[in-house]
Symmetry: C2
């Protein structure tokens, strides 16, 4: 299996990405190799500085970079030789089996739609985030920003995407899928959640357990938390700020430490025809390694094939 | 000034409410007295058990109670002698100048609309929550649940309501008002926030500082955070769960301790013709005391008059 990595994406690219590639190399088994997409000369010189043999990697040299603040659609269209555009091209042609980047999230989403494309039947792909559970283990929250406005049938589908992801990649059997809402009762909510609830309840494709509230995110009521991307994005950034605060205050606690995004690799894009992970902009080498491994886990678990079958 | 308190509202009512009334009595200055609305006999017996002279309070005896899980509109209509309905009646006729309850939030909202009514010009009242700031002081988040679905001009108004509240009750000069969003740039957001942004930006009635994100809630970017009630409710319940977790873990930290809802008294209903506070269902006597004092502070600051003038 060939695993593609955008080495130009992220606030500390290319150095953090290349060092992360070295860390990933050290744990990848035989038969799984990395393809670094980006400025080859710079990458090789970073590798040599770190006394790492560049021959352990394949390289796809690119000459353009999509910046973190660039407009996604314009950037993808105007920079065909960017690491993101080229990475997606490799994914589309099957030269790599997974792709990840800590770069521009919007460009990663747009690039996916234009290259590997959305799985037939999926209305819109969703971005996931991992949330630690108080009693151990983890939950999956989606969408966390790909779709600021959602329709009820999109939330219905996010439940299925999240359920398949939780089962295939994290080994959670019959994941409990909940709707993030403002009350536990079926009649509570906004127009969107009130309309999504009966659709999710009627689904025979996953284990819908009803509404949960903001306070339930770290509990055991659910494994998959479904919401629109506006709500999910605010939740994720709020949760991250708590992690940052506990770290600044020097709290060393097993639960709070599990908020560390570095452990989880990043957000997966679910509902497209290939395994793709988008890392946090501030990704360290450790985070990059876990991002690469998550994209590999997605590929190895045949998640995309499972999603395709579920949406036939 | 006469300050009304529903002694039947809350998970630990009437005991916690009556004990809270005693605590409030001890700090209220001359000229400010409490009117306890609820079952007088029970209240008097709790006071006597605690060796407190019932003559320090006025009583309005009621025979009905609206439960925490009751349907708000039905309960208000069907229980005219409930402590909430009677309390609002006293407020409407001017027999009390402020009212608070740790009871059914929905019934408190509906009761307000049916009795003291919405201030002319205000589309919909909003519920507030207080959020502690890392560097000290506090911020105000609204709406936190009165309006699950909002229109852009409602968010515009929430900015004004929050700004007037922050200034009048908390002494924050020229409060910075921000729109809770999923990106800092003007062009980021969902349909609602994209439409609200230009309205808020054009307002000459308050100091709009632009978009903030979930991670900015405890920082100094803004004093007033505006969002729809769905988003705000999830934020508040998530924030509360963090507080509960830090307490369970025994973290004794000045910042996290300031998450303690007991200190803040509760959520104010802004945009109605009287000062009203809704306390947390689990309110302790300490929380009840602060709820009473917050309703008093609202009355003392002439907040309602200031809101009326701003909406003329």
């Amino acid at each position: 299996m060939k695993i593609g990595l955008d080495i130009m994406g992220g606030d500390y690219a290319p150095k953090a990405a290349v060092l992360g590639a070295i860390e990933a190399y050290r744990v990848l088994p035989a038969g799984q190799s990395l393809v670094l997409v980006g400025d080859k000369d710079v990458a090789v010189s970073i590798l040599q500085e770190n006394e790492f043999n560049p021959d352990h990697f394949e390289f796809v040299h690119t000459t353009e970079v999509i910046g973190m603040g660039e407009h996604p659609t314009k950037a993808i269209a105007q920079k065909p030789d960017s690491s993101i555009a080229r990475g997606y091209n490799l994914l589309k042609t099957g030269e790599i089996q997974a792709f990840s980047s800590a770069g521009n999230t919007g460009a990663m989403l747009v690039g996916a739609m234009f290259s590997v494309k959305t799985i037939p039947g999926v209305i819109r792909p969703a971005l996931t985030a991992i949330v630690p559970k108080l009693k151990g283990g983890l939950g999956i929250l989606l969408d966390v920003g790909a779709n600021a406005d959602c329709k009820p049938d999109m939330l219905l589908q996010f439940g299925l995407l999240g359920s398949l992801f939780a089962e295939a990649v994290y080994g959670i059997a019959t994941p409990k899928v909940a709707l993030m809402n403002i009350g536990e009762e079926e009649e509570k909510g906004n127009i969107l959640s009130l309309a999504a609830y009966p659709l999710m309840k009627a689904s025979s494709q996953y284990n819908f357990v009803g509404n949960v509230e903001g306070r339930d995110l770290f509990g055991d009521a659910a494994d998959v938390f479904v919401c629109d991307g506006f709500t999910g994005n605010i939740i994720v950034k709020l949760a991250e700020s708590y992690y940052v605060i506990t770290r600044k205050k020097g709290f060393n606690d097993e639960f709070f430490n599990r908020f560390n995004y570095e452990q989880y690799g990043g957000s997966t894009i679910l509902g497209i025809n290939a395994p793709v992970v988008v890392g946090h902009g501030i990704s360290s080498p450790e985070a990059i390694k876990n991002m690469v491994l998550l994209s590999r886990n997605m590929a190895e678990s045949n998640l995309v094939e499972k999603i395709k079958q579920a949406f036939v």
